[in-house]
Amino acid sequence: MTPERASRPLVRPYVETGGRARADRCALERITLLHRVGGDVPRGLSDKQREAMELLRAGALSLVETASYLRLPVSLSKVVLADLIAAGCLKARPPAPLAAQHDPEMLRKVLDGLRRAKSSS
């Protein structure tokens, strides 16, 4: 596919992900936390995958943040990142489960954190 305007970022992703859709990306959510495993970056990664590994070199980030730095739609980022998880380069930590969100103790922690964030506190 030849993009009409090479500067348009939305055309590149199709090249980047090679048209693949993976089943395991379904487990990934916007606020899934991603972090690197091991020190070395394997050979043979795509540009976007190398970029993702570089972004996560200094610590963990949410999937949506990673997507925004990669300048890719979230749905396409999931394809790129699922491959890295499958290859053992990244680990994914799921968000707080609904049971935890219905735990009064945790909700009180959320309230405390919000109150602390206010300038008057």
Binding site: R8, I31, V79, A96, M106, L111, R115
Partner: protein
């Protein structure tokens, strides 16, 4: 190319290196919903500890999110932008805020953003309450706890919470809070009200 009211992009979106999170962070999210130009981006920016960020989603004519890249032609697709920010609440808890267009034609994206959220803050403008009807339908259908935040625009009429409740036909007991989306503390108060609204029925058990 069609667009769902593009939010203003930060001038240099990638000017700062990413602020990383601890690997054991427990992630939560809330949705900031509301009609176009009601102040969702402003709200998220006001509360966020990072420069709020933007993602563009690509959608097919049928309204599906593009994730399979066979035969995709950008000219036949719609892009829809969302903004997000985050706030670290303590040494482990991190709260994400997602601005979300509450339009039925972006239902797939809405479902993805709303799924698993703690609750929804719906921003409305009293000068354009009719613009909130479509969003309210989607919020009601999501089945999550929600609070209505009246973003005060100087040119808009001042209505009491009860008036807003009546105009939007809200269930009794739905919190309605006034706020200025540019004022961080006022936005935090709205999130506090929303969290209390999630918590209070659980404490009565």
């Amino acid at each position: 190319m069609d667009s769902a009211g593009p939010s203003p992009l930060p001038e240099a979106p990638d000017s700062r290196p990413p602020a990383h999170l601890p690997e054991n962070a427990l992630m939560l999210k809330v949705v900031v919903a509301g009609p176009f130009a009601v102040g969702k981006t402003t709200f998220v920016s006001a509360v966020s500890e990072i420069q709020s960020r933007h993602t563009e989603e690509l959608m097919t004519q049928a309204g599906a999110l593009v994730d399979d890249l066979e035969g995709v032609d950008a000219k036949t697709h719609t892009t829809v932008g969302t903004d997000f920010g985050r706030l670290t609440l303590d040494d482990r808890l991190v709260l994400y805020m997602f601005g979300s267009p509450g339009q039925k034609r972006f239902r797939v994206l809405w479902d993805d953003i709303v799924s698993g959220a703690l609750g929804i803050l719906v921003l409305v403008d009293t000068g354009r309450l009719d613009a909130a009807f479509e969003v309210m339908d989607m919020v009601e259908a999501a089945g999550l706890p929600y609070v209505v935040g009246v973003n005060h625009f100087p040119a808009s009429p001042v209505h009491s919470p009860d008036d807003v409740r009546a105009a939007l036909d809200l269930p009794a007991g739905t919190p309605v809070v006034g706020l200025d989306a540019r004022d961080r503390d006022a936005c935090l108060d709205a999130l506090i009200t929303m969290t209390q609204h999630v918590l209070s029925p659980l404490e009565m058990v």
